[in-house]
């Protein structure tokens, strides 16, 4: 018996860990510039940061998937929350934002807290649409996928017009303190690790976590076992949007601009991919936080490896790689199940 009740890693996760090591070794060997060999720390930092930025909202996607739902909104939620965060800063300190002056810690904290509240509200909206109105999760979050990005742009244009006197579809962020959130490696990584542990504890060691598994595994049986399934869903969808919100805040720090049109476009599928590669079943009821974290790491390692070996920008092949990895990983686990 380990600290967390069962063996800390499932067979699937051990396999994933092996695959990550294998890809790292292959990249080291096949990369003509020997980046991993010559600059191990720089490479590790880069992979860690990218993994953290992907992994944070993949955890949210995983919780929703384990609860038997799906959250298609995370990419748009990243864009929306990034825009909201920048908007709050513009509203609180318009001059500083326009003239690239420091904002001060209180404003940054207020902006972050305000954005988290917005994330919570959007998650609650999803839960309400699904449990009270009775929409399928796919539809409810599809509406957000389409709607939030557009709403972000509306907010951005109106606020810039009022505060800066000219419409803009993006907001520049110059504040060094805020940008340090993402430009430093350790903040995103620490946030990611802490979130992974929190989600791990929540799912594995709390009553509501067990209820989330039960809900995803058999919703009718869960309700008839006296579980308040609506509450469990509410929590799951709020975790889904709030992790995306945290990622959104980090992303605008990373890119030093909040652009609701391009930020996080298509990331919802990367998050679902990381969860699925990490062992979550889209039928619900199966999956873990460490698995999802490893799934995100595996995706980033493969993307980085291919970019190093082929020597083009990582983003060129990213979609293709994610697609292939998902197909291979799921096919492999099906194959292993059948044996």
């Amino acid at each position: 018996m380990s600290l967390f009740g069962r063996s800390p890693l499932t067979a699937n996760e051990m396999g994933l860990l092996g695959a990550i090591v294998l890809v790292l070794v292959l990249t080291t060997l096949l990369d003509g510039n020997h980046n991993y060999w010559n600059e191990p720390w720089l490479s590790a930092e880069d992979i860690a940061r990218q993994t953290a930025l992907l992994g944070i909202f993949s955890l949210g996607a995983a919780v929703v998937i384990i609860a038997g739902g799906i959250d298609l909104s995370s990419g748009s939620m990243i864009a929306f929350s990034g825009t909201i965060c920048a908007t709050i800063m513009v509203l609180l300190a318009p001059d500083a934002m326009q003239n690239a002056e420091p904002l001060g810690l209180p404003i940054i904290v207020l902006a972050i807290v305000g954005t988290l509240v917005v994330g919570f509200l959007v998650g609650s909206l999803h839960a309400w649409l699904i449990t009270v109105v009775g929409l399928p999760p796919f539809i409810a979050t599809l509406a957000s996928l389409v709607g939030l990005r557009s709403l972000g742009r509306v907010v951005c244009e109106n606020v810039t017009e009022v505060q800066f006197g000219g419409k803009s579809s993006q907001i520049q962020i110059y504040d060094e303190q805020f940008r340090y959130l993402a430009t430093s490696v350790w903040i995103p990584v620490v946030v990611f690790v802490v979130l992974t542990v929190c989600v791990w504890l929540l799912l594995g060691r709390t009553v509501v976590g067990r209820h989330i598994y039960a809900l995803g595994g058999n919703e009718d049986a869960a309700r008839l076992s006296g579980i308040r399934t609506g509450r469990a869903k509410w929590l799951a969808y709020c975790i889904g949007t709030m992790t995306a919100t945290i990622a959104g805040i980090l992303f605008i720090g990373d890119q030093s601009v909040a652009d609701p049109q391009t930020l996080g476009r298509g990331y919802e599928l990367n998050a679902i991919a990381a969860a699925v590669v990490g062992g979550c079943s889209l039928q619900g009821g199966i999956g873990t936080a460490p698995g999802t974290a490893l799934g995100a790491l595996f995706l980033r390692v493969v993307i980085d490896g291919v970019a190093k070996i082929i020597k083009t920008g990582a983003d060129v092949y990213e979609g293709l790689i994610v697609g292939l990895v998902v197909v291979v990983a799921v096919a492999f686990s099906k194959f292993r199940e059948r044996r």
Partner: protein
């Protein structure tokens, strides 16, 4: 019917054996089916009836032995081969596409086409209409089958088989979901099919049906063919005896139980049924349950047995009207969690769909309702959780490899005991059991009866519904009978008989109450 046994049999199974990992589902079964006869195959759950039929219909292809059709050996590779050879099957769980029309279902996979290669809906619909009329099925061929009653859906399947020019029709427990009127209609249809020369293999364990319909009866037990009998030369008692392998002794429950105080009482409970001609699923139900008493609820399918238990557990589709009192205090239940807190537990009818978490372990399934009691500072304490699970496994003697075994590794009877165990951990006052022995084999049934008796003696009040009257007669202290949502009779355990209950259960609404 009078086909001589000297003629070549229409179908002959010769030494058919089918092994699944760890189990021999069929062991050296040889069986002849004569042309034009209605041959009934009966046996308990797990006796091998379904496996035998799957061999015959090309669903199972890797078996040992031979299948001989009209004197020549055949080997079906898939169901299409069997259909082409004139073998059709009506599965217990119907094989229809709910969204498609009756006509589209009848011609599914071999749709009629016009000269342009497009679907010829009109031709299919008129052909379907002709077939359905012949079967006394008064529906429109364009109606989606999901909207049809189960009895009509079944006739759509039969129409499909007829349109395939089926000569040998296998029917797998066809009456299990039908009303009395529908059963009668089905029997007329069967008579007509036989008149048209169709040979029928009729799988059932209902003695009255078998003895009403069959020419010959084959009994399977544990994968072996026990005997094939002429219906005229046997009787239900003998067949039952062969099925079980011993006389069914009424599970003897020692001394009579002593009921205590009234723990649950229901006063004029009604459950609305919006959009239905009857308006009420349940109407004016009043009952009292004492501690240490098993109260049986009998009734045909659709009489409202399940709905009554759902009302008492706070999970009915509509909100019931009327009063529910626990220990004399009125309770209003809007969610199963409230019923659970009040001390009511419900074992659902459909274990797999409504009770089991099939991706979880035995332990996780057992502790689902009491996980909140195991926490230390908000976290589930493994030791306490294991304690709950081990206690339940020991108390109910659940046969499992261990508390961390996957729940799917348990047999049906043990899964059922496990779910009862889940609820007992909540320390209920009232246990509602909705057809708990469905799909459970005979040995496990007796064990469940003993468990109910034991729990009752410990002071639990139990309400039990069952589709099998002998079961209610065996275990209940009192039996209530529902008919179309109304209470039509109440019997004490001593005075109740199957005949009296059936009479009360088939009363229409508005008929006077007897007691």
């Amino acid at each position: 019917m009078t086909a001589g046994s000297d003629r070549i049999p229409l179908v002959s199974l010769q030494g058919v054996t089918k092994r699944f990992p760890g189990v021999v589902a069929l062991a050296d079964v040889s069986l002849d089916v004569r042309e034009g006869e209605l041959h009934s195959v009966c046996g308990e759950n797990g006796a091998g009836k379904s496996t035998l039929m799957k061999v015959l219909c090309g669903v199972i292809t890797d078996y040992e032995g031979d299948l001989v059709l009209r004197g020549s050996p055949v080997r079906f590779e898939r169901t299409r081969d069997a259909e082409a050879a004139g073998v059709g099957i009506i599965h217990q769980e119907l094989n229809l596409v709910g969204e498609l029309s009756a006509a589209a279902n009848i011609f599914l996979g071999r749709e009629l086409r016009n000269s342009l290669g497009l679907l010829d809906d009109r031709a299919m619909e008129s052909a379907a209409a002709a077939l359905l009329t012949e079967l006394e099925c008064h529906i429109h061929p364009r109606q989606p089958v999901a909207e049809l009653r189960v009895g009509d859906q079944q006739l759509v399947e039969i129409a499909k088989a007829l349109s395939l020019e089926t000569e040998i029709l296998v029917m797998d427990e066809p009456t299990s979901a039908l009303t009395t009127a529908e059963v009668e209609r089905l029997f007329r249809v069967i008579g007509r099919l036989r008149g048209a020369g169709v040979t029928i293999l009729y799988i059932s364990h209902k003695m009255d049906e078998i003895f009403h319909l069959a020419d010959r009866i084959t009994v399977l037990r544990d994968g072996r063919l026990v005997d094939t009998l002429e219906r005229r030369q046997t009787n239900p008692r003998e067949v039952t005896h062969l099925m079980v392998g011993r006389e069914i002794e009424a599970t003897h429950l020692d001394e009579p139980r002593q009921p205590g105080d009234v723990v649950l009482s229901v006063d004029r409970l009604s459950l609305p049924w919006p959009g239905h001609a009857r308006e009420w699923r349940l109407q004016d139900i009043s009952l009292k349950l004492r501690a240490g008493e098993i109260l049986g609820v009998a009734g045909l399918m659709g009489a409202g047995r399940t709905e009554l238990l759902e009302c008492l557990f706070g999970c009915s589709a509509e909100r019931p009207v009327g009063g529910i009192f626990l220990d004399g205090r009125e309770v209003r239940l809007f969610h199963p969690s409230e019923a659970m807190e009040a001390g009511i537990a419900l074992l659902t009818e459909d274990r797999k769909r409504l009770g089991l978490f099939d991706r979880m372990t035995v332990k996780e399934n057992l502790t689902m309702c009491v996980l909140g009691k195991t926490t230390v500072m908000g976290f589930v304490h493994s030791g306490r959780e294991n304690g709950f699970a081990v206690d339940s496994v020991n108390r109910l003697q659940i046969k499992t490899r261990g508390i961390d075994a996957p729940v799917t590794s348990l047999s049906g009877g043990n899964q059922q005991k496990m779910i009862i165990g889940r609820w007992l951990l909540t320390k209920p006052r009232v246990l509602l059991l909705d057809d708990p022995t469905r799909g459970v084999d005979v040995g496990a049934k007796a064990e469940l009866y003993r468990l109910m008796d034991k729990l009752c003696r410990e002071g639990l009040g139990i309400i039990l519904t069952s589709s099998e009257l002998p079961e209610l007669l065996t275990v209940c202290d009192r039996i209530l009978v529902l008919s179309e949502g109304r209470l039509t009779a109440e019997f004490s355990g001593d005075e109740a008989t199957e005949e009296k209950i059936m009479e009360a259960a088939t009363f229409g609404p508005g008929v006077g109450r007897s007691s």
